[in-house]
């Protein structure tokens, strides 16, 4: 379900950077700070919050089911407390959090975060791939962060998709020029590599998602060809 409001908890360099990157994707972006003095920042329209359990003021102004929360406090302990506090109050809220390391990332997951980004490990992963696989790292980065025309997209199988009810093994992907199908995900499983033996005999059905890489026009053409929707 598409979210319309982003709630960013943490008035710091992470919070500000996230605001810059996501503000175009959401109708409303709200930045919260624990420091009352930062509320005077008119450029970013900062609002005050504390770690008490009273989230009613936010609930009144925001439709929680249409929101996504980013817990980006720099203090890991406070971030865990914030996450657990939000989760206890809002069962269905989508929570993305940052952690300084994997150990704290596990705690955040236990506290109810849907996605946790361990900063140290992520930076180390990126540096390692830059050093060990410089070309593919550059290619993946450009694909993932849309630095050029090459894109990665999620194509959803719908009722009218021509590939529906076909076994993966029977599909000749090479006939779809200009795109590469990387993986597939259905409701019951994690994303699986397209050549995985687990999905070899998988029959495509409504709701399955194909992850494809290609140029924008080729992806659009592929979508039209199979009669599917882009997620």
């Amino acid at each position: 379900m598409h979210k319309t409001t982003a709630l960013i908890f943490g008035y710091n360099k992470y919070g500000l950077e996230i605001v810059q990157n996501i503000k175009e994707k959401y109708e409303r972006t709200r930045l919260y700070s624990q420091d009352e003095s930062s509320v005077s920042d008119e450029i970013n329209e900062v609002e005050y919050f504390d770690l008490s359990d009273d989230w009613s003021s936010i609930e009144k102004t925001v439709k929680i089911s249409d929101s996504i929360a980013f817990c980006v406090l720099e203090d890991d302990a406070q971030n865990v407390f914030l996450t657990i506090s939000l989760r206890a109050y809002f069962k269905d809220l989508l929570i993305v959090a940052i952690a300084s390391n994997q150990e704290n990332a596990n705690k955040l997951t236990m506290a109810g975060a849907n996605k946790v980004i361990p900063i140290v490990e992520t930076a180390a992963d990126i540096i390692a791939s830059i050093l060990e696989l410089p070309i593919s790292s550059k290619v993946l980065q450009s694909i993932l962060f849309e630095e050029n025309d090459l894109k990665i997209a999620q194509i959803k199988i719908s009722e009218r998709t021509t590939l529906k009810d076909k076994e993966l093994l029977d599909i000749d992907w090479s006939m779809y020029k200009g795109i590469i199908v990387l993986s597939i995900m259905d409701k019951d499983m994690k994303s699986e590599f397209i050549y995985s033996s687990k999905v070899k005999h998988h029959v495509l059905k409504c709701g399955d998602v194909l992850v494809v890489i290609g140029y924008e026009k080729d992806i659009e053409y592929f979508k039209e060809l199979i009669g599917s929707d882009r997620v």
Binding site: Q20, K25, I117, A123, A124, E132, L140, L150, S183, S196
Partner: protein, 520 residues
């Protein structure tokens, strides 16, 4: 006339590349610990020493094969003689001294006189010949005169030559030398105790017929045996006064022994870290390729674990001893040297151009990273430098310092967040490929001459049979990435095939690329 000939010959030798190269070669072979082949010479010499000592021991009670005896007496001695001459040759440059002297005289407008030069040469060469190591070398050659039985015992001097070849012996000597003052004090104390006890026991016992101590030599022998706490018991005092002296000497002996032990132990403890560091630096010069991590903090720690798991060599430099110790605890080679000082690289003997794969400035402090990057760039323009960026306002400064790639964690987090909320499945797929824990990997396969001989186009590669997706091909010549190339795309030597698949299948596919026999 002769003088001019000598000066001309000296100039010729000084300018002769061939002569200088040879001299440098022998210098490396005999003296330069960092030279790759020196260790083989050392091993050869040590083997020769052990052979000659073994022959000496065997010869005492058993007949020795004539050839072996000849080898031990003449061949080994001859090899040692050659070594002695070579060492004497490389110890200083005769031609350089003569040239310097001649230039000095002509600069002052005087006639060239070689007297002073010969004096300097004699002083330098004799100085070398009188050094302890040169004397040992010379004595090790003496068994050559095998007929003189006394000289055969000099074979044992060959054992002392081991000091020259085994670095650890030199280190031990160096360690003990740091306690020189304490050892001299101990020797002085022991000498006084031995002297006093020797005289006392002689005075007390010499006139007693029942006592075995009759001469001053007997007294000295008894004193040394007693103070060393060995106490053979073959010579014992017979009088009460003598026994009293014995008690004093025994107590003094215990003190001397305890003092000696504590001296050696404290010398070793004091310099243990230094010895380890020397060894590490020695090993460092032998590494062909490594990542130089400057600063050991959180990201560095995590990255080093990943790189080490891929069997990469990593050297950590940090000016903070606690961080260096942390790196050592994590099993890394870490040195307490500031990465921001040229002197550090000089002392460590790091050849950035040849040995360093990439310099990683991973302090979580932009100021320190700029400082390190500028230091590295000041003596190498080409090495790849990657740095953490902690504050975006410093980006330009780090770029200006010559850093090739900046990693800004805040930006990464924001971009990952953006991608995650937009395409969560796609994000997980790509993240899994980059992660060390995922099964499906992305890899770069180099097109070697052999691969090119086997396959001409992408269509011939047969990747589908290995369940491998070819994402694209990086063309080295044009520096371009061709996404999803069609079957007829030609591959060239130096290109990279970007493949996605299960790690094990990518491995098999790579082997297939190298082993397939071309049908052509």
């Amino acid at each position: 006339m002769i003088q001019r000939l000598i000066v001309n010959a000296s100039y010729a030798l000084q300018t002769s590349k061939h002569y200088q190269a040879n001299k440098h070669f022998f210098y490396n072979l005999l003296e330069n610990d960092k030279y790759r082949y020196k260790k083989y010479v050392d091993i050869l010499m040590m083997t020769l020493i052990f052979i000659s000592v073994t022959v000496l021991i065997r010869e005492v009670k058993s007949p020795i094969n004539d050839y072996l005896l000849f080898f031990s007496t003449y061949i080994i001695s001859f090899i040692f003689f050659i070594e002695y001459i070579l060492r004497l040759w490389i110890s200083s440059s005769v031609s350089e001294i003569i040239v310097k002297c001649a230039e000095h005289d002509s600069f002052l407008g005087k006639n060239v006189s070689l007297g002073k030069a010969f004096l300097t040469i004699s002083r330098v060469k004799i100085g070398y010949m009188l050094s302890v190591q040169a004397i040992i070398d010379l004595l090790a050659i003496l068994p050559f005169f095998h007929e003189l039985r006394l000289l055969r015992i000099f074979i044992l001097f060959r054992v002392f030559k081991l000091f020259r070849y085994a670095k650890s012996f030199q280190m031990l000597a160096g360690v003990l030398a740091t306690k020189k003052f304490e050892f001299i004090t101990l020797a002085l104390f022991s000498s006084i105790v031995i002297f006093v006890s020797c005289v006392l026991i002689y005075v007390m016992e010499a006139n007693n017929e029942a006592s075995p101590i009759n001469t001053l030599f007997d007294a000295l022998y008894w004193s040394i045996v007693t103070i060393s706490t060995v106490g053979y018991g073959d010579v014992t005092p017979a009088t009460d006064a003598g026994r009293f002296v014995a008690m004093i000497v025994i107590i003094a002996g215990i003190a001397v022994l305890a003092f000696t032990t504590s001296l050696v132990v404290s010398a070793l403890t004091d310099r243990l870290d230094e010895i380890r560091e020397i060894k590490t630096i020695e090993n460092l010069s032998k590494l062909k390729e490594f990542y130089l991590v400057c600063g050991y903090e959180n990201v560095a720690k995590e990255l080093c674990i990943k790189l080490a798991s891929s069997s990469h060599n990593i050297i950590v430099l940090d000016e903070d001893i606690s961080r260096v110790n942390n790196a050592k605890k994590d099993g890394l080679t870490a040195l307490h040297y500031s990465p921001g000082k040229i002197l550090s690289y000089e002392n460590l003997g790091i050849d950035i151009k040849k040995q360093v794969k990439a310099v990683l400035c991973l302090r979580e402090d932009d100021v320190e990273n700029v400082y390190t990057a500028l230091t590295v760039r000041s003596f190498d323009k080409d090495v790849f430098i990657l740095s953490l960026l902690m504050n975006d306002s410093n980006r330009k400064k780090l770029e200006f310092a010559g850093i090739n790639h900046l990693v800004y964690p805040q930006e990464l987090v924001a971009m990952i967040t953006k991608e995650f909320i937009g395409k969560p499945v796609a994000f997980e797929v790509v993240h899994a490929m980059r992660s060390a824990n995922g099964n499906v990997k992305i890899d770069e396969l180099t097109v070697t001459t052999r691969v090119r001989e086997n396959f001409k186009t992408i269509g011939e590669l047969g990747n589908s049979a290995y369940r491998v997706i070819i994402l694209g091909i990086y063309q080295n010549d044009t520096d371009k990435f061709l996404f999803n190339p069609d079957k007829d795309t030609a591959i060239e030597v130096g290109d990279y095939i970007i493949a996605i698949g299960y790690q094990v299948f990518i491995g098999e596919f790579e082997r297939h690329l190298h082993t397939k026999v071309s049908d052509a």
